[in-house]
Symmetry: C2
Subunit: 356 residues, 2 copies
């Protein structure tokens, strides 16, 4: 090792799901929306005055912040925006988790939490989910430097009640509690309604899943004005202009398209519930996902084997070689047609392995 | 202060130049390019398949990284990209500056360096520029945790020679040396040609100035494969997908437009040299800027007064209330027409104050 390598921050980075180069794949591995963005988003891009690109964007991301405030009935001062919810969460970790005490999050959850903790040298402790992958709210009644959890959780899809979330908030009034709601639009109730009562609550959401804009990178957070101010101070200390002009325009346009948004969500939920029934018939075991994916295991076939078999058929799902979940697959809900191809393959594959 | 406020990272953020809301202003305050982006960029946006936005972008930013590698004749493994050069520099500070020894940078330079150092709790020490605002390369021959400087420097516009830069590199082989070349295209020679000899050199550039894409947020860095790998590890630990799909497409398209790029640069340089002559006639004192701005002072009128007078005329320039430079204005080179309006105003204003 060269001397100049001594003081480099060395990390083990998060590994995102594959983005296969081939065109003819069924991509159910990164929880993307199978439907295109709303027509208004497309129109906003074609109407965009490209000459303006020579100028810096509005550092306050005004049009998007105001559109979010209006849509979710909060003050603009309660809204923070970033380059996907990953950027929002990274900024929140950097801003809010500076205690000597460990922050707490579930042992099975979004794989980025420990990566950010390691990156920013934040002490952390994972709290085991129960055997059905549910959060036990009482487990968080211990001294800590902050709490973060996803609801619905990833990769399990399990939704916790607002009662449980409020239990966690009530027992953690001296630290920041972050509720990561990337998948909330697929059937959950947002903790947003608790905002008035808990000044230390940060609710994080994203345009990547329910609004079909993963490729545009838009995440946002709601919190008390105090919290959002601290978050913005850190953001402005990092990069004044994170959201480009096209993104701001497209994001604001997406929020105008409420009926398209609802229609898309309903289609995905309908497909999910149908697939759940079919998966049950095939012998899969899984919880009651309220997200746009299922987290499944099968008593007869190891998840890793199935993952490889599906990949050979150009069907990509997600497999995590991690403790407790290494016999599970996370399968994104695609279009009905895509799910039918998946189901047809599984029927044959499971029948063949029964006969072996 | 609430208890939950105790462990929040409190910072004094960077304050970017104003983005005035009114339309009819002459905006010479944030070093934007007065000319629109290249025609190919515009075409790439109209040709963009918006259905793809439902999918995550390529986390490796392949099309942009390859286009940069081809244009600048380096390996793709030597290229890092980010959300403007601010993002690239913030990631570089986080990755490379982890020593107990202070990092070094000039006392007068890009105002973000000390902001990042404070944000990431990096010890730092500023090294005074000489009385003509030039770097004395020998001043950096002292123990340190890393070196960063802008060339041409901001807000002075002064260009240092590759001989001086190589002196700094040769005397700092055990730390990372970052050369911030945001303005290099306006008449400087890039340190890129030293890359083969110094594995600890990082050269940072941007699409915001010379390529008229401030509104799109694209920055990049060149370094040894080792350095770029470390930088990418941290970036992937922060946010896997920072560059959205539209940005990647537009950035790659911009690099195809070499003749438009050169034409624009030449126009700006020609205007700058003409404005230098006129400023000299008006009695302003300034260095030999090689950037797209001038950094000027006047023996008879205080910069603050002139700044306010210009603002009243809807001409925005930049004033820094900072030690050593609080009697200077940084004036971006706009179109010839814009500079003529500025010059006309200054001629009258200076004449009137002479008569007082």
């Amino acid at each position: 090792m060269k001397l100049w390598e001594a003081n480099i921050r060395k990390v083990v980075p998060y590994v995102p799901g594959e983005q296969p180069g081939e065109q003819r794949v069924i991509k159910l591995n990164t929880n993307e929306n199978p439907y295109p963005p709303a027509p208004g988003v497309v129109e906003s891009m074609y109407a965009f005055d490209t000459d303006r690109l020579r100028l810096y964007p509005d550092p306050e991301a005004g049009i998007l912040v105001r559109a979010l405030a209006k849509r979710y009935r909060v003050k603009p001062e309660q809204v923070f925006v970033g380059v996907g919810s990953d950027d929002v969460l990274a900024m929140a970790f950097l801003t809010f988790f500076n205690s000597d005490k460990p922050i707490l999050f579930p042992d099975i959850t979004y794989s980025f939490y420990d990566v950010w903790a390691e990156l920013f040298r934040i002490p952390y402790r994972t709290v085991p989910l129960d055997e059905r992958f549910r959060i036990c709210a009482g487990d968080y009644d211990i001294p800590n430097g902050g709490v973060v959890f996803a609801n619905p959780n990833a990769p399990t899809g399990e939704l916790e009640s607002l009662t449980d979330i409020e239990h966690i908030l009530r027992h953690n009034e001296d630290v920041i509690v972050i509720v990561d709601e990337a998948y909330i639009d697929f059937g959950g109730t947002s903790a947003l309604q608790l905002l008035g009562r808990y000044e230390n609550l940060l609710v994080v959401q994203t345009f990547s899943k329910s609004r079909s804009l993963a490729g545009m990178r838009i995440g946002y957070a709601f919190g008390s004005q105090t919290l959002i101010q601290y978050l913005n101070d850190v953001k402005y200390s990092f990069n004044s202009y994170t959201m480009n002009q096209v993104t701001l325009t497209a994001g604001a346009a997406a929020l105008e398209e409420e009926s398209y948004f609802k229609k898309t969500i309903h289609k995905i939920i309908a497909t999910r519930e149908r697939v759940k029934e079919e998966f049950q018939k095939l012998g899969f075991v899984f919880g009651d996902s309220r997200s746009n994916f299922l987290f499944v295991t099968h008593p007869n076939i190891h998840a890793k084997e199935l993952f490889e078999a599906l990949k050979k058929e150009h069907i990509y799902v997600r497999y995590f070689a991690k403790p407790r979940i290494d016999n599970y697959l996370r399968i994104t809900i695609g279009t009905d047609e895509e799910m039918d191809v998946l189901l047809d393959f599984l029927r044959v594959y499971l029948k063949n392995s029964d006969e072996k």
